[in-house]
């Protein structure tokens, strides 16, 4: 039977992402983050902690680099090449980029991380054995490992009451990372299905996008042409499946981080605008 399956679907099984891959995508969730209006307030990160039951690890473990912030706001000061370096830090909200050709996926020995038909890079906690190879092969270093059983000390009574019942609390020894609030995606999809209609743009959004006071983070279905995120990608002439965005208009500020590594990230960043002298 399996041999039959193998032979009849051989050409399908041999397709890489350049030829569209094994299956068609139902959705392709993507993001656009405008760094120009990001104030670095960390509301997104906080919202992420609340939504996704992220463990609070305490100052010592944070210092050791064992924190669990799926979404971190990176700060860069050293911008001496700019005209006004004294303008302070520039901020970069960094979460899993849900790469289309994710480097973390093929290295997992047990296939605990894989690509969903939604274009998400999913992590199966139950399957993870904690070899941590995925994190080593992630150029963004946005995968977080449960070095301890954080749940034991992270939410002392009655704080455990604030945990989100839609998702799990992870135990020691598994890898976790930003899921694009997959629980929200799933419930919105289910709701649309129950009501027998298509999922609409803006019907739901991720916790970080919801919390962002300046609306710097835009989330949506990249495949849906009318979605806000698809329009933004289009406006800034950012295309997928390339290693370099070819454009000469400086007004088009969009770029994807480390796209030269051919990993095809799903997050477009809009460059910060600095006035010239």
């Amino acid at each position: 039977m399996s041999l039959d399956n193998l032979l009849s679907n051989w050409s399908q099984y041999r397709k890489g992402h350049e030829e569209g891959g094994f299956h068609d995508y139902e959705h392709r969730w993507g993001m656009a983050i405008d760094l120009d209006i990001c104030t670095g307030c960390n509301a997104c990160s906080t919202a992420c902690y609340a939504e996704n039951n992220l463990a609070v690890v305490g100052p010592e473990r944070f210092e050791k680099g064992q924190a669990m912030h799926w979404l971190r706001v990176e700060r860069y000061w050293d911008q001496s090449e700019l005209d006004h370096p004294e303008q302070g830090a520039s901020f970069l909200p960094m979460m899993c980029q849900q790469c289309n050709a994710a480097t973390c996926e093929p290295v997992c020995p047990v296939a605990a991380t894989y690509h969903t038909p939604d274009g998400l890079n999913a992590q199966i906690y139950n399957r993870c054995i904690g070899s941590r190879y995925c994190s080593n092969n992630c150029p963004f270093r946005v995968r977080y490992f449960n070095f301890y059983s954080y749940y034991e000390s992270s939410w002392p009574e009655p704080l455990n009451m604030q945990l989100n019942p839609d998702i799990t609390v992870r135990d020691k020894g598994v890898m976790e990372k930003c899921t694009y609030c997959v629980q929200r995606i799933r419930s919105a999809k289910n709701k649309a299905k129950m009501e027998d209609r298509k999922l609409e743009d803006g019907e739901f959004t991720t916790a970080c996008a919801q919390a962002c006071p300046t609306n710097a983070i835009v989330f949506g279905d990249w495949q849906d042409e009318n979605s806000q995120v698809a329009k933004l990608w289009k406006k800034h002439e950012v295309t997928r499946a390339v290693t370099k965005q070819n454009k000469d208009n400086p007004e088009k500020r969009g770029y994807r981080i480390f796209e030269e590594l051919n990993i095809d990230p799903s997050v477009m960043y809009l460059e910060r605008v600095r006035e010239k002298v």
Binding site: S2, L6, W10, G16, P106
Partner: protein, 175 residues
């Protein structure tokens, strides 16, 4: 007619080899060099000249193991991948040939090696009771020549052994 099994032990290897080539030449009726078993503490590639070509079939099992390993490897891996469709990852195809080649190579060697070993146990007659005429000197520094003969030839063979300065001669009746 009853038969005897004779074993001559020699400490001079050249004499032992000469004894075998005498058996080969003198043609004692009913005694052929094919009945001779040589027991030795070390390996003697040069003895094949006197003992005659005796075929070794071990390499066929190696070949079989290798071919089995590589074909089984391919189908096993591809079938596993084709029935585990959560695997499309990192933009790679479901059946990823480059990585499968690596594993097929390992499986080739794995099965070839084990096939050879199991065939070795079988073909070289290990895992059996040792011959009752075993001498511990064979594992030290003496060569033994073991031969099954009819009683009529027993004395002639023993004489031959004595001629070639056999240190010790043991015999046993075969029932």
């Amino acid at each position: 007619m009853s038969k005897h099994c004779v074993m001559g032990l020699f400490s001079d290897f050249d004499e032992a080899f000469a004894a075998i080539s005498d058996i080969r030449k003198t043609k004692i009726p009913g005694v052929s060099v094919d009945d001779v078993t040589l027991k030795s503490p070390i390996e003697h590639p040069e003895i094949e000249e006197v003992l005659g070509e005796r075929p070794v079939h071990l390499q066929k099992f190696t070949l079989f193991g290798a071919i089995f390993g590589v074909t089984f490897g391919f189908f096993f891996l591809a079938a596993a991948q084709a029935s585990f469709l959560v695997q499309p990852q990192g933009g790679k195809p479901v059946v990823a040939l480059p990585s499968n080649f690596v594993l097929m190579y390992e499986m080739l060697i794995f099965f070839a090696v084990w096939g050879t070993f199991l065939a070795f146990l079988f073909l070289s007659g290990l895992l059996r009771k040792r011959h009752s005429l075993y001498s511990e000197n064979v594992s030290l520094d003496q060569v033994g020549i073991l031969i099954d003969v009819d009683d009529s030839n027993l004395e002639r063979v023993k004489d031959l052994f004595k001629q070639h300065k056999a240190v010790e001669i043991r015999e046993e009746e075969i029932r």
